[in-house]
């Protein structure tokens, strides 16, 4: 019983750590209209230092980017990555309190 409680506590602490550590950005991207085209954006954003996950939402024309603890994705850096992929950054915002998953690659 104690062992189970300990494991549960450890999992809870880990979750809180992840919540506190990761930060996620939501990028609005214009020009994105098919899943195959979106891979170029994933590739460029994954080259940005500190990015741990990139999720492209084609239907909403947005890209969710998760950064490591202490790393920041500036709007200029996001715009550069989207430009390098051949698309246009429409909007940039920080999604507070959300966590990312694994590596998008």
């Amino acid at each position: 019983m104690i062992r189970k409680l300990t494991l549960l506590l450890a999992a809870l602490i880990t979750s809180i750590t992840v919540l506190a550590a990761d930060n996620q950005y939501v990028l609005g991207v214009d020009g994105l209209a098919c899943p195959f085209c979106g891979y170029g954006i994933e590739k460029r954003l994954n080259k940005v230092d500190g990015v741990t996950d990139v999720q492209v939402d084609v239907g909403e024309s947005v890209v969710h980017v998760t950064m490591q603890e202490g790393k920041v994705l500036t709007e200029d850096r996001a715009r550069q990555a989207v430009d390098e992929a051949g698309f246009t950054l429409r909007s940039y915002s920080v999604a507070e309190g959300r966590t990312g998953g694994g590596n998008g690659q």
Binding site: L32, F36, G40, V56
Partner: protein, 305 residues
């Protein structure tokens, strides 16, 4: 000479069409190019199997069959400039013809002439969920294929060879309008064929259009992430070729105009595209006598990495 002109011309057209049609590597038409972007540092790899049959109903009862594989590698130098290499491999190029000696078969195979070309995005206008782009395309075809292969009857007709021995140049413009629901592409391309050993294929002008309409998912409402799409395709290729140049004159039985329509399907995922079309002749107006297309099947895949 007269009996070999028709298959010669047919084989030339086969080769030209094959090269002109394997350029595409983005989510795009199956038979020509697109203006959609290749990200800086992104590679695109494509393989397309081409099966083409041509024949006539004349006394020579000619049949030309081509089974080939077009391999394409693309690379995004910048977000606007992409370069591509095209390597055709002919499993078999075969001519069957009835002669006074009876029915004969001549064939060859191997690597064809390699093409290199660049595409630059001159204009783009991005909207939420759609984009419009215009991109010029310029390239060269190098004489890397065999142009003097022989069989038991002697040297094969020039166009039946896997290469034509000449440098060719081509250029044009491609435009794309893509939305979440459909995509329209148009291409105007001119190919100037070089001369080698007293022979030059006729220069070629082609106008291609394509409509790709998403049939799955039926609606994007409430569909998160990057779902795979299935597109229905309908493509049109209008191709005009000048007469072939032969020594100081031209071959009266060469060149002409052809219109092909190609229905097909395309499965598009995040990193893969699997596709297939069947090109069917709608109208053909060749100079003199010529072989007619029966069909051209194109199946293949594309991979992004």
């Amino acid at each position: 000479m007269g009996s070999s002109r028709y298959p010669v011309r047919a084989s030339l057209l086969v080769g030209a069409l094959l090269l002109a049609s394997v350029y595409t590597v983005q989510s795009a038409p199956n038979t020509f190019n697109t203006a959609l972007p290749v990200a800086e540092g992104q590679y695109l790899w494509r393989e397309q199997l081409v099966l083409r049959e041509r024949s006539d109903n004349g006394p020579m009862d000619r049949d030309v069959s081509v089974q080939a594989l077009g391999s394409v590698l693309g690379y995004g130098v910048t977000s606007k400039l992409a370069v591509f290499g095209v390597v055709p491999y002919f499993f078999n190029k075969e001519l069957d013809v009835t002669t006074p000696m009876g029915r004969i078969e001549r064939n060859t195979g191997g690597f064809g002439d390699i093409s290199l070309f660049g595409r630059y995005t001159l204009y783009k206008k991005d909207f939420t969920g759609s984009t419009f782009r215009i991109a010029p395309v310029f390239g060269l075809t190098a004489p890397t294929g065999d142009d003097n292969d022989r069989d038991r009857l002697g040297e094969l007709p020039r166009p039946l060879q896997t290469g034509d021995g000449a440098w060719d140049g081509f250029g044009g413009v491609v435009t794309t309008y893509q939305t979440l629901q459909y995509q329209v592409d148009g291409q105007l391309l001119y190919r100037e064929n070089g001369r080698h050993d007293g022979f030059a294929r006729g220069d070629e002008t082609r106008f291609d259009t394509s409509l790709q309409y998403r049939i799955w998912p039926r609606s994007m409402k409430g569909v998160p992430g990057s779902p795979s799409f299935i597109y229905a395709l309908l493509e049109s290729n209008v191709i005009h070729r000048e007469r072939d140049e032969l020594r100081s004159g031209t071959d009266a039985d060469s060149g002409g105009t052809q219109w092909l329509l190609a229905p097909g399907l395309q499965y598009v995922s995040r990193r893969w595209i699997v596709e297939g079309t069947v090109q069917l002749p709608v109208a053909e107006d060749f100079n003199g006598d010529a072989l007619e297309d029966d069909y051209i099947v194109r199946v293949g895949f594309r991979r992004s990495f």
